[in-house]
Amino acid sequence: MTEDDEMNDSANTDEDFVSGSAGGRAFDDDRLLAYALGLGDDPELEAAAREDDALRDRIAAMRGDVDAVAAGLDRVVPAPPDDYADLGEARWGELRESVTAPAAPRRRLAWLRVLAPAAAIALVLVAGVVGLQRLGDGEGNEAATTSADDKAVERYDRQRTGAGQGEAGPMTDGLAAPTPAAAAADPGYETVVVAVAAPPAAGRQDFYVRRVVFGEAGPLITLEIDEQALVAHALAILYLTPTGDETGASAPPKPTVSASPPPSVASKALRFTFDGAPAWARQLAPGIDPERVTLP
């Protein structure tokens, strides 16, 4: 029996961990643990706890346990000093080279390098055979054949040269490779993007940009959390840096999503701070194609 198995057997029966009465036993310790760890709302548990003193005691005991352990861990494995990640420190010498190095080629580029020339040669051969057949049939049309070849070569050139342009590299391009913004009406914000939320940390939340709807943006955007973070891994539309008459004091209007049936867009927008100015994030339904999000 592994330690995991032993723990599975004991996880819901360990009375040493949560002292208290048998109240609220409909809620097992795993559920209470998730709640006590602050891993999400549990309205059903909260409602039951309002009516059940024993359940409230169990939750309080569980939270006390979690807090005590968290405080103990902070003491025995303290966070490093604030300047720990200063890249100027000698210990990061090798890392500095990687930070400034050009983007590494992606594996699929290697495939393109092999396949694209082969595909181009095949196209030229096919076009040549077709051209010879037509000449042989007396129906040759030089202009048409040349045109077909030109298109094939153009396609090949686009494939070959375009594959390297804007290609994703580690950390910046690789995280997002956002689509450039198309011309759009001024939304009152300098930048509007569709992005995926990372788990919040230290009062901030990162967003990996999937598409730039308006303005310009890099692949990673960091917002300071004003009141509440967005759910990690959720897709959201972000409005950054109010411009003109827009102050950012109130949430911008919902975007529209061209899909049938129309997917849901969160009615509540969450306020953040970006570069000292108000910013807004509004969650989009999972699975929405970022390309289908448009501003009203």
Binding site: V76, P80, W92, P170, M171, V196, L220
Partner: protein, 168 residues
């Protein structure tokens, strides 16, 4: 607004390096922990990155694997308790580093299996959800719950038995 690749890489490092260090330390690294932190980020910068929705699970799995590999390569082996004792007093930014329950907590951490310590580290140092921990450890959600539950029970028990609870 648009950040260059080096800026984004440097910002990513500044943001995540402290928690990576703590995770690796709890995995068992000590003298070599900064080398391991550096190795993690070099791997990230050189990697063919996954899609962004899978990036964080990939990143934390990379941290855990790096820690495990470094641990296997380690030449000098010392117990976690000894290394944790070394860690706390040498950090000049923290003065309250020796609370009454800490020796017992160090011993309890040392007694946990590596998988359990990893789950604790990901939850408390990286603030990951249970689902994200499961993805990083590549185990079912239920296993993460039982690991965390079991680990917390042992750590809490160690604190209680040492009398630390009364002195809080």
């Amino acid at each position: 607004m648009r950040r260059t690749q080096p800026e984004a890489r440097a910002e990513f490092f500044r943001r995540y390096a402290p928690q990576v260090r703590r995770i690796l330390f709890l995995q068992g690294l000590c003298d070599e922990v900064d080398d391991a932190v550096q190795e993690v980020f070099i791997k990230v910068y050189r990697a063919d990155l996954p899609a962004e929705e899978r990036f964080l699970a990939w990143f934390y799995r990379l941290i855990l694997n790096t820690g495990r590999d470094q641990g296997r390569r380690r030449k000098t082996r010392r117990g976690l308790v000894e290394r944790l004792e070394e860690l706390a007093p040498t950090d000049g930014t923290h003065t309250d580093v020796t609370a009454p329950g800490d020796p017992a907590l160090r011993a309890a951490l040392d007694g946990l299996s590596p998988d359990f310590r990893e789950a604790v580290a990901l939850r408390f140092f990286a603030d990951l959800s249970l689902e994200s921990i499961a993805a990083a450890q590549d185990v079912p959600l239920g296993t993460v719950k039982s690991r965390l539950h079991g680990a917390l029970a042992r750590l809490r028990q160690a604190l209680a038995e040492s009398g630390y609870e009364q002195e809080r």
